[in-house]
């Protein structure tokens, strides 16, 4: 379970997150929507400790992420992350991209790591691309590679940071399909997204962020049907 209490985040003088309270249960799929600059992506970086915070706290399975001496490398193995700019490692083959972290972080031997990589790549539909370098893949394939790479650490949570925003429109579908598959398998997911269809159909809850504040959170039927906040209604009217 992820528990966020009174989270404050500044970039210099810029107040990015203004006291966020949020719980995410095991097995839940939460979509986070809102305009660019509303703090959605920063929230994810605060959850896995890639960003420091200035107030409040984040706990993952009872462990305080930002406590002094917290073992972030260990913690991040629980929290898979997929980035907007997929960030595949260009100098490694597709299989090595996935097998590297299981080997050097989890300490598996090469054979076991390669097997995990093969399994996860087959899972996201890249089973025939093992020896290829990422440069030869399309954006959608690279993003699925990034998902397989995160899954190879066998995380308990997956954080998606606008996983489809940088993709050509015709490639968005395959990545959303993969995310939907994960959701159906019971993965706990926090998806920062601009894909309203995905947020409505796949999530258990949707959170709307506005200028660093979580304006509203609730089941998709509430957010997309009878939003309480005028900001939410305004945002949704614009993106549709």
């Amino acid at each position: 379970m992820i528990e966020i209490r009174g989270l404050q985040k500044y970039f210099g003088a810029l107040h990015v997150l203004k006291g966020i309270d949020l719980d995410v249960e095991k097995g839940e799929v939460l979509s986070v929507i809102g305009a660019s600059g509303s703090g959605k992506s920063t929230l994810l970086y605060c959850i896995n400790g890639l960003e420091e915070i200035q107030g409040g706290q984040v706990e993952v399975d009872g462990q305080n992420v930002h406590a002094k001496g917290a073992d972030l490398n260990k913690l991040r193995q629980k929290l898979g992350m997929v980035f907007q700019q997929w960030n595949s490692f260009p100098h490694l083959t597709v299989q090595e991209n996935v097998a590297l972290a299981p080997r050097i972080v989890r300490g598996l031997d090469r054979k076991a790591a390669d097997e995990i990589a093969e399994r996860q790549l087959a899972h996201v539909g890249l089973g025939d691309k093992l020896r290829v370098y990422p440069g030869a893949l399309s954006g959608g394939q690279q993003q699925r590679l990034a998902i397989a790479r995160a899954l190879a650490m066998e995380p308990d949570y997956m954080l998606f940071d606008e996983a489809t925003s940088a993709l050509d429109p015709e490639l968005v579908g395959e990545v959303l399909e993969t995310m939907r598959m994960l959701a159906e398998e019971g993965m706990t997911m926090i998806c920062v997204t601009h894909e309203m269809g995905f947020a409505r159909d796949v999530s258990d809850r949707v959170a709307f962020f506005h200028q660093g504040v979580m304006e509203e959170i609730g089941p998709p039927s509430q957010i997309f049907g009878e939003a309480q906040s005028p900001h939410t209604r305004g945002f949704l009217a614009n993106v549709r």
């Binding site: 193995q77 980035f83 960030n87 440069g135």
Partner: protein, 220 residues
């Protein structure tokens, strides 16, 4: 000028010695490059990530290495340290001078290489639970090495040619040896002509090996 009589016999007699000196040249240049690359990596990382005295030292190193004649740098390790009672062997003087110079030039190449790797690569590696060191060694540095590969090859060629300055501090590498034989026999033109060919062959071998290595290393 058409009356000059070439005398190649003495050169041919000394050719094995010259080739041996050529190998010494290659050895000192290679060592200087290996040390230079390691130091340059450190200098580049310090200049990118640190403030304070270490950064100041690294910056001074790079400035002096790039902006003063290589010959003066050799003289520093020879006569400069000698003036303070620290007497290095000719071999050590040339090795230290070349290393100092190569490290300074390569540090700037490496700095550019590091800056060319998007910060998001580091983030992606850290998000998988890698330590900063693992991320550097497995993700960032391999990509940097590809970016700087050709500048490094250039520097290696430059190190071989620059080692000829060694003859001015009494080092019997290829040029020093040639100078020694030439002044003994007065067949100066012949000796240096043959030596030029040896340098040319050494550099060609380096470039060929570098190309071969690149095709093995960089498949992407």
């Amino acid at each position: 000028m058409f009356d000059y009589n070439f005398h190649w016999r003495p050169v041919m007699r000394d050719l094995p010695d010259l080739i041996e000196a050529g190998l010494l040249t290659l050895q000192v240049a290679s060592l200087a490059m290996i040390l230079g690359i390691l130091i340059a990596l450190g200098l580049a990382l310090i200049r990118l990530n640190m403030r304070g005295p270490l950064n100041w030292i690294a910056t001074t190193w790079v400035e002096f290495a790039r902006n003063t004649p290589a010959l003066f740098q050799l003289f520093f390790f020879g006569f400069g340290l000698g003036a303070f009672g620290l007497h290095l062997s000719p071999y050590a003087i040339v090795l230290a001078g070349l290393t100092f110079n190569c490290a300074g030039y390569l540090a700037e190449n490496f700095r550019g290489g590091f800056q060319a790797i998007p910060e998001t690569q580091m983030r992606a590696a850290r998000s998988l639970g890698m330590t900063a060191t693992q991320a550097y060694l497995r993700i960032v540095i391999p990509q940097v090495l590809r970016i700087v590969y050709h500048p490094v090859t250039n520097q290696m060629v430059w190190a071989v040619l620059m080692s000829s300055l060694g003859m001015l501090v009494g080092f019997r590498e290829l040029s020093g040896e040639t100078q020694f034989f030439a002044s003994r026999t007065f067949r100066i033109f012949e000796y240096f002509a043959v030596t030029a060919v040896i340098y040319y062959v050494i550099v060609k071998i380096i470039l060929g090996a570098s190309r071969l290595l690149a095709s093995r290393l960089f498949r992407y």
